[in-house]
């Protein structure tokens, strides 16, 4: 070993090191990181705990952003699949006394509007639905009965979970299709065996079971029978209670404006037109406002994490007075000391930030997957998460670093 070692003077003479007496002290860039990391490594537990505060703050920010985007995209997918071009027309409350009703001809007149792509209607049937004829009449289970034409399913983008919907063939037979909630209340799980319902004093065969309608939740709690069967068996006049209209995407608002007058030229104010997809969009907006709240909470967590880092750094300055003194004695400038402490804080914070981003992504992934949503993590959450952590680290480290640089080396190094 002795042969290989040279004194510093011999190293100097190779000419690669500054020898001007007054050339400024210089800490190599690679050493800046090593010095900062070294002192963190020597206080592992405390470093990890203080970085954890930042990590939790960042994780909550990232997961809030990720989850809100994932759920919003799920909602938008749903809206997109259902279409935003569905309008519903119902009888409004009107100005006059008594219930107003849509005219019998509503479906036909709406169908003549050029921008209307499809129409379908439901007609109220005043009857109770029972599993059999022994159930007391008042136990209706809150299930209503509507008559419908075969086009309703397509107009609503609905799906059948079992059996079939009302067809041209079955629209005049005493047969019914059961909404999802109604099926549950009636205790119908499947149609493996033929099921009959006792509707308005008549036995009716169940043709099919419906999946939930996203845009017409009323129908989930209803049993539908064919419109002709309603006329023939229940003697119902076919006055539409709701007309569902699919409209050309590009003329939704224009069509909406003319529909009321089209339906009831005499009393246009009595037709109430709504757009069910607005509800979903409102839900999405409501979720966004919650996102704001959670983001605020995440920011508070991040702030607390930053204070934790600042606290650890301030304690570190007090504890490491002698180290600071020694560094000053071996040639560190105040700027070197300041930089060292700042880099420690930045390292802690970016460590916490990285862990937080990973944690946030993991939370988003697990929760979104469990909800059956597409996992979407906005890039702003990733970049912003790290950037916020670094910013917090810089702010948290600034004061301790300035304090460290102000430590008087003579005080720190005094022997008594």
């Amino acid at each position: 070993m002795g042969g290989s070692s040279r004194t510093f003077g011999q190293v100097l003479r190779e000419g690669s090191v500054v020898t001007d007496l007054l050339a400024p002290s210089r800490l190599r860039l690679s050493e800046v990181a090593r010095v900062g990391l070294g002192s963190l490594a020597s206080r592992k537990l405390r470093s990890i705990l203080s970085a954890l505060g930042i990590a939790i703050g960042i994780a909550s920010l990232v997961s809030v952003l990720g989850l809100s985007d994932s759920s919003k995209s799920a909602l938008l997918d749903q809206i997109g699949a259902l279409g935003t071009n569905l309008l519903t027309i119902e009888a409004g409350t009107g100005f006059g006394a008594g219930d107003s009703a849509l005219p019998e001809t509503a479906v036909a007149t709406i169908g003549r509007v050029a921008t209307v792509e499809a129409t379908a209607a439901t007609y109220g049937v005043d009857a109770g639905v029972y599993r059999n004829d022994l159930v007391p009449a008042e136990q209706t289970g809150g299930i209503s009965v509507f008559a419908a034409d075969p086009g309703l399913l397509e107009t609503l983008n609905g799906t059948i979970s079992e059996g079939s919907f009302i067809t041209e063939a079955t629209r005049s037979y005493p047969a019914a299709v059961v909404g999802s909630v109604a099926a549950e209340r009636l205790g119908i799980r499947n149609l493996d065996n033929p099921v009959e319902l006792y509707i308005g004093g008549k036995w009716v065969e169940v043709l099919g079971l419906l999946e939930p309608f996203a845009l017409a939740a009323d129908l989930d709690r209803a049993v539908l029978i064919g419109d002709r069967a309603a006329e023939d068996y229940y003697g119902i006049e076919l006055i539409p209670s709701t007309v569902f209209v699919r409209v050309d995407e590009s003329y939704i608002d224009e069509t909406r404006d003319v529909l009321a007058a089209t339906v009831d030229p005499e009393n246009p104010e009595e037709a109430e037109i709504s757009r069910p997809s607005d509800l979903l969009e409102a839900r999405s907006a409501a979720e966004s406002s919650f996102t704001g709240l959670f983001l605020g909470l995440g920011a508070v967590a991040l702030l607390v994490g930053g204070i934790g880092v600042a606290n650890v750094m301030v304690i570190g300055v007090i504890e490491r007075r002698s180290e600071i003194g020694l560094r000053r004695a071996i040639g560190a400038t105040r700027a070197h000391i300041r930089r060292q402490f700042l880099i420690e804080a930045l390292t802690l914070a970016s460590l916490g930030g990285t862990v937080g981003v990973l944690l946030g992504v993991a939370v988003t992934y697990v929760y979104a997957t469990a909800q059956g949503w597409r996992v979407i993590i906005p890039p702003i959450a990733l970049i912003g998460g790290i950037a916020a952590a670094v910013l917090i680290g810089a702010i948290a480290g600034l004061y301790p670093a300035i304090r460290a640089a102000k430590v008087s080396p003579t005080e720190a190094l005094r022997s008594d």
């Binding site: 070993m1 002795g2 290989s4 070692s5 040279r6 004194t7 510093f8 003077g9 190293v11 100097l12 003479r13 000419g15 690669s16 090191v17 500054v18 020898t19 001007d20 007496l21 007054l22 050339a23 400024p24 002290s25 210089r26 800490l27 190599r28 860039l29 690679s30 050493e31 010095v35 070294g38 020597s42 002698s322 180290e323 003194g325 020694l326 560094r327 000053r328 004695a329 071996i330 040639g331 560190a332 400038t333 105040r334 700027a335 070197h336 080396p409 003579t410 190094l413 005094r414 022997s415 008594d416």
Partner: protein, 267 residues
């Protein structure tokens, strides 16, 4: 990263006075270039006073003038609180005098800022402390190599120089040990190696034997003796009169004043 040519310091005829000039290579600030004046004393205090404000204000050093030549070995003695530690810190530019000037190798430090003073400490001053101040958990080789941390030397260069001084102080076989595996005397040898690693103009030792038993103390003073014999300049602050008496020159400090400057020519 600007590597400057080291030959600049060794050239020129104007080496009698500190050479102060400018180079276009200077970064950010226009820093003067200075090289030590080989004819000047290692350290010179000219009428140096150090007062700390407060009620009442404390005068730690009171108009001290002293000159320590190259190759001298000097003891600074005095009661606790007499100002001897302050004098040592002022000599090493860790502390600046309230009035008067400190010259290191002929360079007046009174007008210099933090950057330059730090550079002088990092290149020309070697400190040894009573409490050693080694980083626990770091092998002694790197503890010594850290003495060069702020010189801009690379890690291999620093380690090479550290190996060489550790061999010099008799710890060549223990370079990978951590400080807590060493005895008090060995720990102080490591600290001395760190003070030597950058080949300073002088060593300032503040109560270097204060935490050691008498056998270890004797070992440390022997080491200082042999470093002195090699021509190094050493200033030892001590309240131990026996140790002081064994050194060729003693500065006695009382209430911040230089009471006596005794040259015994011992050792």
């Amino acid at each position: 990263m600007i590597q400057r040519d080291s030959s600049r310091t060794g050239t020129g005829s104007s080496r009698l006075a500190p050479r102060v000039g400018r180079s276009s290579l200077r970064r950010r600030w226009q820093l003067p270039v200075a090289s030590p004046d080989p004819a000047a004393p290692a350290i010179e205090l000219r009428n140096v006073s150090k007062r700390y404000p407060g009620l009442p204000p404390v005068t730690a050093l009171d108009r001290v003038s002293v000159r320590i030549d190259r190759g001298e070995m000097v003891a600074v003695v005095g009661q606790s609180g007499s100002g001897k530690s302050t004098m040592l810190h002022v000599m090493g530019t860790l502390d600046q005098p309230t009035s008067g000037s400190v010259l290191i190798e002929g360079i007046d430090t009174s007008a210099l800022g933090d950057d330059h003073l730090a550079a002088i400490r990092g290149r020309r001053v070697g400190f040894v402390f009573q409490r050693f101040f080694l980083l626990a958990g770091v092998p002694i080789l790197d503890n010594v190599a850290n003495g060069l941390l702020y010189t801009g030397a690379s890690r291999p260069q620093r380690r090479e120089a550290a190996r060489s001084v550790l061999e010099r102080v008799g710890l060549g076989a223990r370079m990978q040990h951590r400080p807590n595996a060493l005895s008090g005397g060995e720990t102080q040898r490591v600290a001395i190696a760190r003070a030597l690693v950058h080949e300073p103009a002088f060593i300032l030792a503040d109560e270097p034997t204060g935490n050691l038993d008498s056998a270890s103390s004797a070992g440390i003073m022997d080491l200082f003796g042999s470093l002195h014999a090699e021509g190094r300049t050493i200033v030892v602050v001590t309240h131990n009169e026996q140790i002081a008496a064994a050194l060729p020159r003693q500065l006695q400090i009382l209430d911040g004043r230089l009471e006596q400057d005794i040259r015994t020519g011992a050792a």
